[in-house]
């Protein structure tokens, strides 16, 4: 989240889209209800299903799964064409005035640089026009047709309310009614927030979807303000933390993984450290060398020296354009190109797309280690034929699966220390309450014991790549079970000369005199102690920032981009409701997202970006500088804007023998997956109360479709896709109304997750149905808006 849970109470308008917080984040949703109660905030819910968030909304708009960019693009067009943008904010805090290169253009669904043969983009034209000093040229009047604002206005001129209705399946009036409320925040003194979750990320165009949301919030002047922002609710206790720690194939702190073409540390830093694009850009990522050097010092300790590039050569290097994210490496595992796999508290069989492919991939391994609280579908994958009943017709018996499996019992959350990061970016420290049951062990002991045992083998026998393995620093007081407090102090970082904890990332150096395991967490455990364990109740601003409760990254800042809550001169857009204030010598309030004593005109408000301002137009993403509506990879209709570029042209689609894509003639209905409030993911099927409250898998069908098919509530139905099938009783509801799309009636089918073939209660895995199709930027699979058929059994 740019903001945080408590902050939602400060808003005037809440757009919930691609999420269902009333059911899936119920405790956080209380802040939405508080905003409604105390500020008379309006709640808009846009979703294919009339869920419980919709039930308490002021305005509900149905839309077809996978058409969110069309809806949000429509809002951009609505705000611009009805003069509802916060233009003072747009002029000061965005790249609206930047001039684009003359050769940038968009036509027939493709941006300039499209190579139809290679199916790839050359991004050269997706840039600003630069002056002699390398800075972007600007036109403050916004009249130049090549300025970002005019290009954006042109781009979204196609997204009229009628076109939105044609694509999304709502009516133009429904769209306009919601648009009027959402765009009412486009002026000083009124603010709106956006809450989203996996309904936005489970698409083959998910990052661009969130980019569209950010653009809308910038046009309305809603970024950096209390009650504003673009807020990912996130679905698990610490996936924000694992993202921060680089667990999705980065180095900690959002530093990029090295690649083979960057052979020296210097070439890595040159390639990954941005240069400012405007004279007043602080360009904070310019400090990348300090963060990266301090990380190498944390990794390699005294062995990391300036003379040896701080040990940079020891880090593994990706190929020049190689992608090792989920879709790609499970595809390699399916092709028998991988031999071993270690799963630490994750259940890829239940979680990954196309379950049967996952099962086949694991059966192609020589060995598998699973570390878990409960037996999972992944641990028991070799028994899927028997346990999974009829859903894996092509799968083999256990006796033909040669994978050796070791299942290790691990401590659960209550049995180990450590910090979780919630969606507000708050790091909260927890303490172990009891020892784990039986012979179960905490994860850090398991990791350490395996690591030490492998190193002992290399010590004894030698072997490939001994140096990088033995040099990785593991000098904990108890190497076989490092204390997590010791690890947390290493993550915060210290000064080598004094041995003291650094106070924050501003103290990090690029000469090897500081070490830091993750610069964004620097400041969490200083000489003042463990700030993540703080329990201070004070709220001096009255905005719900609670600066002394837990610790928020970065720098205990509670609202990101908060300099933008003020105008160019440092005056708050809303003086009654200011995140930070300039008192003539320094900024007060929240930790400023700005230099604390820099006068308001010194830097642009978006200090991390080379532009110094927020970006409508960006060359960072794979499919274009502006978001464009693309259909899901499986769709009942062709793209109404450009039928010849229907789906995302650069989204990866896997093509193994287990993968196949369906067409609307055989699979006419649009499927969505969702969570139920009684269950948490694939865990609570092991817990009695959740299992009693929701014991059975079911399939939610719209009344019209059920009637067409002669299906009554409780009848057993089979839902099938080009990949596999699930079976369960039908729950017939009026919650997913049929939508008119391109003259066709489109029905949705809703399928809850939560079941599997191992648990106190059991049922089919919904991912039997889903495709191995991924967003090109995030590598997230398309679980919302794939095609299925439904039959009565």
């Amino acid at each position: 989240m740019t903001n945080g849970w408590c902050d939602i109470a400060n808003t005037d308008v809440v757009l919930v889209m691609g999420g269902n917080p009333a059911e899936n984040h119920p405790v956080g949703f209380r802040f939405v209800m508080e905003a409604k109660r105390k500020r008379k905030a309006k709640l808009i819910c846009v979703d294919p299903r009339f869920n419980r968030t919709a039930a308490v909304s002021d305005t509900y708009v149905p839309l077809r799964a996978g058409t969110d960019i069309a809806f949000l693009g429509g809002l951009i067009h609505y705000a611009i064409s009805n003069d509802l943008c916060h233009m003072d904010y747009v002029r000061v805090h965005t790249n609206a005035s930047f001039l684009l290169r003359e050769d940038f253009h968009f036509s027939e669904g493709h941006f300039s640089g499209w190579d139809a043969e290679k199916k790839a983009y050359d991004k050269t034209s997706w840039q600003y026009e630069l002056d002699g000093a390398g800075y972007a040229k600007v036109d403050e009047t916004l009249e130049n047709p090549r300025c970002v604002y005019r290009a954006m206005k042109d781009h979204y001129s196609r997204y009229t309310p009628e076109k939105v209705a044609e694509i999304c399946g709502c009516t133009a009036d429904e769209f306009k009614k919601a648009a009027a409320v959402i765009c009412s925040t486009g002026r000083a003194g009124r603010v709106g927030t956006i809450l989203y979750a996996l309904g936005w990320t489970h698409h083959s165009h998910s990052v661009q979807l969130i980019h569209t949301a950010a653009m809308l919030q910038l046009l309305l002047g809603n970024i950096g303000l209390p009650g504003g922002g673009v807020n990912a609710q996130r679905g698990h206790a610490n996936i924000q933390g694992s993202t921060d720690m680089g667990a999705w194939n980065m180095l900690p702190g959002y530093l990029r993984l090295p690649r083979a073409q960057w052979q020296t540390f210097d070439s890595y830093l040159k390639a990954t450290t941005p240069k400012p694009l405007r004279p007043n850009a602080m360009n904070y990522w310019g400090n990348t060398p300090k963060f990266a050097t301090s990380l190498l010092k944390a990794y390699y300790g005294a062995a990391a020296k300036k003379e040896n590039d701080f040990g940079y050569a020891w880090l593994p290097k990706l190929g020049e354009t190689e992608n090792q994210s989920w879709g790609f490496f499970f595809d390699r595992m399916h092709r028998k190109e991988m031999h071993g796999f270690i799963s630490f508290g994750m259940n890829p069989v239940a979680n990954g797309p196309n379950t049967e492919k996952m099962l086949e991939a694991l059966a192609n391994l020589d060995w598998l280690v699973v570390v878990e609280n409960f037996e999972t579908e992944t641990a028991a994958f070799w028994n899927a034929k028997q346990l999974g009943e009829k859903f894996y017709p092509r799968y083999v018996d256990a006796k033909s699966i040669q994978t050796e499996v070791i299942l290790l019992p691990a401590a659960c959350f209550a049995e180990k220390d450590g910090s979780f990061v919630n969606s507000s970016r708050w790091l909260q420290w927890k303490r172990a309450a009891v020892p784990p049951p039986g012979l179960a062990k905490p994860d850090h002991e398991i990791i350490a014991r395996i690591f030490m045992a492998v190193r002992a083998l290399y010590e004894k026998e030698g072997g490939a790549g001994k140096e990088p393995l033995m040099t990785m620093q593991w000098n904990y007081e108890q190497p076989l079970m490092p204390s997590l407090e010791e690890v947390a102090r290493e993550v915060n970082g210290k000064d080598a000369a004094t041995g003291q904890q650094v106070p924050g990332f501003a103290a990090l150096k690029d000469d090897g005199s500081t070490s830091c395991g993750n610069w964004v967490y620097s400041g969490s455990w200083t000489e003042a102690g463990n700030l993540m364990a703080r329990r201070g109740q004070e709220d001096p601003t009255g905005l719900g920032l609670f600066p002394n409760y837990a610790w928020s990254w970065p720098a205990n800042r509670r609202i990101l981009y908060n300099r933008a809550s003020n105008d160019a001169d440092g005056k708050p857009w809303d003086p009654t409701h200011a995140t930070i204030r300039w008192n003539g010598t320094k900024w007060t309030g929240d930790t400023p997202d700005y230099k604390a004593d820099a006068e308001p005109h010194q830097y642009g408000a978006f200090i991390m970006l080379p532009e110094g301002v927020a970006k409508f137009f960006t060359s960072d993403l794979a499919e274009g500088p502006f978001p464009e509506h693309y259909e899901p990879m499986e769709s009942p209709v062709k793209n109404a804007l450009h039928p010849n570029a229907s789906a995302n042209p650069v989204a990866p689609v896997m093509k193994s023998s287990a993968d196949s894509m369906g067409t609307p003639d055989k699979f006419p209905y649009v499927a969505i997956t969702y969570r139920l409030t009684e269950h948490f993911h694939y865990w609570t099927k092991h817990v009695a109360s959740g299992s009693e409250l929701q014991s059975n898998f079911f399939v939610e069908l719209p009344e019209g479709l059920a009637k067409e098919k002669g299906i009554k509530g409780g009848d057993v139905v089979r839902v099938s896709s080009a990949r596999g099938s699930v079976e369960g009783p039908a729950l017939v509801t009026p919650r997913m109304q049929p939508l008119k799309v391109a003259g066709k009636t489109v029905y949705h089918v809703g399928i809850p997750i939560h079941w599997g073939y191992v648990g106190r209660v059991r049922g089919p895995l919904v991912n039997n149905l889903t495709p191995s199709v991924f967003d090109p930027n995030s590598g997230t699979p398309e679980y919302k808006g794939f095609l299925v058929n439904v039959e009565k059994v």
Binding site: W5, S242, D244, W314, Q324, F329, K430, V434, A464, L484
Partner: protein, 193 residues
Amino acid sequence: MNLQVNRRQFLQAGAAVTATAFGFRLEAATAAARELKIARTNQVPSVCPYCAVGCSVVIHTSGERVRNARPTVVHIEGDADSPINRGTLCSKGISLKEFVVNDRRLTKPRYRAPGASEWTDISWDQAIEKIARRIKDTRDKGFVEKDAQGRTVNRLDTLGMIGGCTDTNEINYLLGKFRFGLGILPYENQARL
């Protein structure tokens, strides 16, 4: 931090609410019952492991001072000091104790031999030894020090790793050192999905 005092204050505040439709103070009775349940327990601050709202919880344990007994969780409730959940929990969080104290929890290492159709028991020492041997053999075969163009790459892509959603930051950091020490490139997390 003084959990005990804060929680009592919270209960007293709850009890001060006016009489209900039943004609008597239900809150007071409920508060008294909760007092009995958690009397003389140890209280440990923790965080709910489910969604990312980050509700603080208080884990009540007992048995620390009993000879020949293991401490056990007797109750888990929302932490009234948290500005996020202010003592509340959702329907899943309220039953967290059943997650921790659960007869389906794994309590010993298990082994499934190639081609077998059953789990068998294995000791920790044997398990760690087998895993270390497997990692070394896979890595010795698959480790690439220099690529085809002679560039130093120190990489391993025949062995993959994946982390979960309640791995703490510190565990993720250690997994990172483990992974970069070995040179593992296929490395994923629940965060992707």
